[in-house]
Symmetry: C2
């Protein structure tokens, strides 16, 4: 490659999560890495941005020879600050987000800080990939994730993406030998269904704490990411920020005459 590529790395589990360390190790093979990651866990922050209070950036020396900052905001704030403040509005060649501790398949993409950070970069015209592993644990095995992240990043940089610039990549739990390969898929109709736990605080006040279970509402769809993951494959879903349901427009045109 003629010039060294610039790669922005972020996540939503925070800068101390093993997953971002694994992703930095992959990304640094391809170019100069800039890390901007939240200073606290930000799972489920979706596309939230911080409007009502100021944000802080703090330089950290966590990764050998890598410029890195922890940010007091959300994952999307990290990308905005990286682009506007640290990179002076010069776009990096690639943004990678993750590796998330826990899957972001199906409708999880909408709730995920990891995928929202990737989407924020993609909205700004930066090719962007979010990686997530079906394993929440601190000592999760990232071997397969790193192997496939390396392969996918290499291809995306060489071949470029067509008709999108955002990929949602989910990797099944387990070691490299447990993963069968890659499937390019569509987003499953699958999501966490809430079931709040009700309890009483020490002062007698009632509170609710989010719990729930993951539910695949279209288990027969063999083209979905959740189906691929459940069958041992890494899923790659090309994604996008335009939420228009185009095939609903015609049937609603009558509203123009009410």
């Amino acid at each position: 490659m003629s010039k060294e590529l610039k790669i922005l790395v972020t996540n939503d589990d925070g800068i101390t999560a093993p997953g971002i360390k694994a992703l930095i190790e992959v990304a640094r093979e391809f170019g100069e890495v800039l890390v901007v990651s939240p200073d606290s866990p930000q799972s489920g922050q979706g596309h939230a941005i911080t409007i009502y209070k100021p944000l802080r950036l703090k330089k950290v020396n966590l990764f050998d020879g890598i410029e890195a900052y922890q940010c007091s905001g959300t994952p999307v704030d990290c990308v905005k600050l990286a682009k506007n403040v640290l990179l002076n509005d010069v776009k990096p060649d690639l943004c990678v987000s993750g590796i998330n501790h826990g899957s972001n398949s199906g409708i999880n993409i909408i709730y995920s800080g990891t995928m929202s950070a990737a989407m924020e970069a993609s909205i700004e015209g930066i090719p962007s990939i979010g990686f997530s592993l079906y394993d929440f644990s601190l000592d999760a095995d990232f071997t397969a994730s790193k192997y496939y992240a390396q392969k996918i990043i290499k291809q995306v940089l060489e071949q470029k993406m067509k008709n999108t610039n955002l990929l949602n990549v989910n990797i099944p739990a387990g070691g490299l030998a447990d993963v069968k390969g890659i499937k390019v898929c569509e987003q499953a109709e699958a999501l966490w269904v809430e079931d709040y736990k009700e309890a009483t605080d020490p002062r007698g006040g009632k509170y609710y704490w989010l719990a729930g279970k993951f539910e695949n509402r279209d288990p027969e769809n063999k083209n979905s990411d959740v189906y691929a993951n459940n069958n041992g494959y890494v899923s790659v879903v090309p994604s996008w920020h335009n939420l228009t349901k185009a095939d609903a427009i015609d049937s609603l045109k009558y509203l123009e005459n009410i």
Copy 2:
């Protein structure tokens, strides 16, 4: 109608915002209203959910004869708590969100707490409409918003929606006479572009505060919501939670062989 309809009303500007009062006044004509709204402003919260701390619901008597709660969480938390805790998982017939103080046209839909609350209900199969007005002010004129909200809700309840159950409705600023009618549109490639204000706190620490300007990147698109609004029309964009970029799948299939 044979039975009284149940309508969930929420927003992201918080339960004291004039916009939600205006929407309740419209919604109560159509059925029994339940209000669950954040106890503080939640603009820009996107699809954030609260995972790491408990949530509170507090009953309030702000709206004559209407059951209403303020919630300590995000707009999406409000919808989840309404459905799971207050409605015992019985779906309301309709969810309306807003009327937002400020537009949610274009890519704003992704950042908007108002639209994310509406989308959360729609994911759960509840027909859902978000309403937003191009006017941030506390004393905004909601006359046109209420007029068109009433018309659109009536039609949606009578005709049902096809191919979607989520509408993003944006109303131009001004009085009823300033608004020309309704256009059914697609989401514009238009968004707030950030420009952080850098400053120093009283203890010498540097901070950044989000600012920016609204930019329409496809001003020639006459089918977009921003174009409609700029030309005096209420925009209605049928929307959806599936972010798959379907036309990018084939060109990425080669990833299955790397």
